[in-house]
């Protein structure tokens, strides 16, 4: 596992996993712009799309994904060096209000017309305003543990978090919090 600097000031990074020729950010945006990949994904997950979003038109789901992907990608492209990344990423667990050591976070589009956006970018928060993107997913269900593809993202976040912990990427205050957690 290696890391790619997404912002030159070092506040945003992306993981490049073993065997991948580029990082997780490029991988998800390429998938979200690939009609064949999206066709296969929504064909396989049509029941969730209908159940949770009341959408029955596969083509519409693909168009919406591509549109949202463009919006989200531009949002990241346009992050200025002094931008507050804490406004883009939110705790993965909606109920979590306290800071967590190397917390699992998500980024998504808000105020999308017609239906909520199902695109998610996942990250680990290194410290205030600093994040590592671990992956992304089309989340159609209420929780991530309900489907294999979102479970896989949870596992990736855990892997990255463990690697960072094992390598001491944590300050004394954070370490004390971590000990309390375990």
């Amino acid at each position: 596992m290696t890391f790619d600097k997404i912002l030159n000031n070092g506040t945003l990074w992306a993981v490049r996993y073993e065997g991948d020729d580029d990082n997780a950010l490029r991988k998800v945006f390429n998938q979200w712009n690939d009609p064949e990949w999206l066709w296969d994904f929504f064909t396989e997950n049509m029941a969730d799309l209908e159940a949770y979003f009341k959408i029955t038109d596969l083509n519409q789901a693909i168009y919406d994904t591509m549109d949202d992907s463009g919006e989200l990608e531009c949002l990241i492209l346009d992050i200025s060096p002094d931008a507050d990344l804490d406004a883009l990423f939110r705790p993965l667990e909606n109920y979590r209000t306290t800071e967590m050591t190397l917390g699992k976070e998500k980024a998504r589009l808000h105020n999308r017309p017609a239906h909520a956006s199902w695109l998610r970018l996942y990250a680990i928060k290194l410290e205030q305003g600093c994040y590592i993107i671990t992956g992304g997913a089309i989340k159609l269900t209420h929780t991530m543990s309900e489907r294999t593809h979102t479970l896989r993202e949870l596992s990736k976040m855990e892997r990255v978090r463990n690697l960072l912990l094992e390598n001491g990427v944590i300050d004394n205050e954070g370490f004390e919090d971590y000990i309390k957690e375990v």
Partner: protein, 99 residues
């Protein structure tokens, strides 16, 4: 960012540069026509799935290579009017309409 974190990430940076930013900028700059290309790709894909056709059989009907059909289906090709007309013909769809 604290020194240890910065040092760890920099010591473990990938050895080759990422193409994400370059591709993202290209997608943004070409967004208008890419949207058409993606929709045409989807139309062709729907037709292929419905008729149970392979890329090779589409290539044969269009008089092009299977590799080119694969590129069309990625939705990133700036298609010529000739290619659009061929897709219209084989899918019996009207893509270009004029008032």
């Amino acid at each position: 960012m604290k020194q240890e974190t910065k040092q760890f990430l920099e010591e473990h940076q990938s050895t080759t540069p990422s193409k994400w930013r370059e591709e993202a900028q290209w997608r943004r700059e070409n967004r208008d026509w890419l949207r058409y290309s993606q929709r045409i790709a989807l139309l062709l894909l729907s037709y292929m799935k419905r008729e149970h056709l392979t890329q090779a059989s589409i290539a044969e009907r269009m008089g092009c290579t299977q590799q080119y059909v694969s590129k069309i289906l990625k939705g990133t090709e700036n298609l010529t009017i000739e290619t659009i007309a061929k897709i219209e013909y084989i899918t019996s769809s009207k893509l270009l309409t004029f008032d």
